[in-house]
């Protein structure tokens, strides 16, 4: 296996595995999965899913790249630009991923197959839409058996969505601590009493919770036969539950930023003109907008960059941007709920199964507009540390400096005399000049804020 690296997250399924070879990700199908893989193609399921843009396309190669005895076929899937994880998604992203999974299950049943697992990690966002990426998740359907991945679906999708709906969308982040899902007993303890009167919650959360505490009797159910119609009824019920769930948010600091802020419209307009002008001379593959809010400038960048990753620490902002991109067909923006002062850590087996956010980043352009004061003053991150992280993830940097005289910053500085030496335009320029060449510098009219375009040395 020279030049070949097994993907650290691909080890749980004996049907095959993902590996990296010459900069591309491949998937090996093992002999034991041969029948199911052939059925996926011969049943017409693969074609139907592909036509609907629901499953990642692949090219089958008759080349045993790994040299393993288990080899059946090698797949070269369409390459995904940026992998995101469910705990970086907003409510509507998780909801759409759940509906996609059920949709795929329904279509699979029509073709005599079934999903053998149902985890949000099998879904990625490509071109603004969720897409199923695990080609090896399908197996032959036996219509006397219930859905083998039902519990996994409930724990990975239903419980986080229901808790986000009844309690707070913060529960999406709980998937980072429990990537295998949140148990129904966890949900049953947290949900309000009135939720027991909702039939679908009674069936999918409170009933499993009751049964799991009396597990001994459960095995008798294996002898009770099931039917396709029964399974379709359950899927239908799960779908209507998911569709009616609305997010509940306890707080949001940023969503009315543009509407309620003391920042003037003239300033925003001037900044937008300047950013657009500079962007028009740039282009590339990946741009990242840090502190995107509801994505006004990410949308500008999406006209020049093939992929824009727009991150913000506020889930509501990301949700609004996601919906805006969905309806406005801004397909090349990937909004993610990430706090740049505390980015997603690496988690899972050996701490490598799911990579951290920063290690997944490799951008042509980073935009950090009206962010620097939050980092340096708000979060006490040293100017040099900010330079280090940007240097690490990008070549080009479009950054806005908000001077100490700015009303917003002045407000933040009232009780922070200690930071004056650190936070001023001169120190900003000195620190950044160590690693970057300043290509452009212009004051945004109607404000004292300054925009910089910098290139890594």
């Amino acid at each position: 296996m020279n030049n070949l690296k097994k993907h650290p997250s691909s080890f749980r399924d004996p049907s095959g595995f993902v590996f990296e070879y010459e900069g591309k990700l491949y998937r090996q199908v093992n002999k034991r999965y041969a029948d199911d893989y052939d059925l996926l193609l011969s049943s017409g399921l693969y074609d139907e899913l592909l036509k609907g843009g629901k499953l990642i396309a692949h090219q089958a190669l008759q080349q045993n790249l790994t040299g393993s005895n288990d080899w059946y076929v090698t797949l070269l899937p369409e390459q995904i630009q940026f992998i995101s994880y469910p705990y970086e998604w907003c409510f509507d992203q998780l909801k759409d991923a759940a509906l996609l999974t059920l949709d795929i299950l329904q279509i699979s049943l029509k073709h005599g197959m079934v999903l053998k697992d149902a985890t949000p990690f099998n879904v990625q966002f490509v071109n603004g839409k969720p897409i199923f990426i695990d080609t090896l998740s399908f197996e032959k359907y036996n219509d006397t058996e219930p859905w083998v991945a039902y519990r996994q679906f409930v724990e990975c999708f239903i419980v986080p969505l229901v808790l986000s709906s009844y309690k707070s969308t913060d529960f999406i982040r709980q998937l980072q601590l429990n990537p295998d899902g949140l148990s129904t007993s966890f949900a049953a303890k947290l949900l309000p009493f009135k939720s027991r009167f909702r039939l679908s919650l009674l069936l999918h959360i409170f009933l499993p919770n009751n049964i799991s505490t009396r597990r001994k009797n459960a095995s008798s159910a294996r002898h009770t036969s099931f039917s396709k119609q029964k399974m379709l009824n359950i899927i239908d019920n799960l779908q209507s539950l998911i569709r009616t769930l609305k997010p509940r948010r306890l707080y949001s600091v940023w969503n009315n930023y543009y509407e309620e802020t003391i920042l003037s419209n003239d300033y925003l307009q001037a900044k937008s003109i300047l950013v657009t002008k500079w962007l028009n001379e740039l282009q590339g593959n990946i741009a990242i907008d840090i502190g995107t809010n509801t994505g006004a400038f990410a949308i500008d960048a999406s006209k020049r960059y093939k992929n824009v990753i727009a991150v913000d620490a506020d889930e509501l902002c990301i949700d609004e941007l996601y919906k805006k991109c969905k309806t406005g067909r801004r397909e090349n923006i990937l909004p993610l709920w990430v706090d740049i002062t505390n980015p997603t850590p690496a988690i899972g087996w050996a701490n490598v199964e799911r990579a951290g956010f920063i290690s997944r980043l490799n951008a042509d352009l980073v935009m950090a507009l009206a962010v620097i004061h939050h980092l340096v003053i708000g979060s006490n991150i040293r100017m040099k540390q900010v330079v280090d992280i940007f240097k690490h993830i990008t070549n080009l940097l479009l950054i806005e400096f908000v001077p100490e005289e700015d009303p917003k910053v002045a407000e933040m500085l009232v009780r922070r005399a200690d930071i004056f030496d650190e936070y001023n335009q001169q120190n900003f320029e000195t620190c950044f000049s160590e690693e970057f060449n300043i290509l452009r510098k212009e004051t945004v009219s109607s404000s004292m804020r300054v925009l910089y375009l910098m290139q890594k040395k």
Binding site: F11, T119, R151, L207, A218, K230, D236, S240, T244
Partner: protein, 57 residues
Amino acid sequence: MLNNLLYIDPGSGSYLVQVIAAAVLGVAFYFKTFVAWVKSFFGGKKNVSDKEEKINE
């Protein structure tokens, strides 16, 4: 490109849950059809979608 496959022990209770849920939903389905029939019998509104949704939930 990522797998996270959890193999669920079929005896873990998820089978029993689905057997019960399917039975309950089956009854709810007949009830729904019955309500729709009663409504149409008395010449009520043909659109019962609101009611259907409530029952489905």
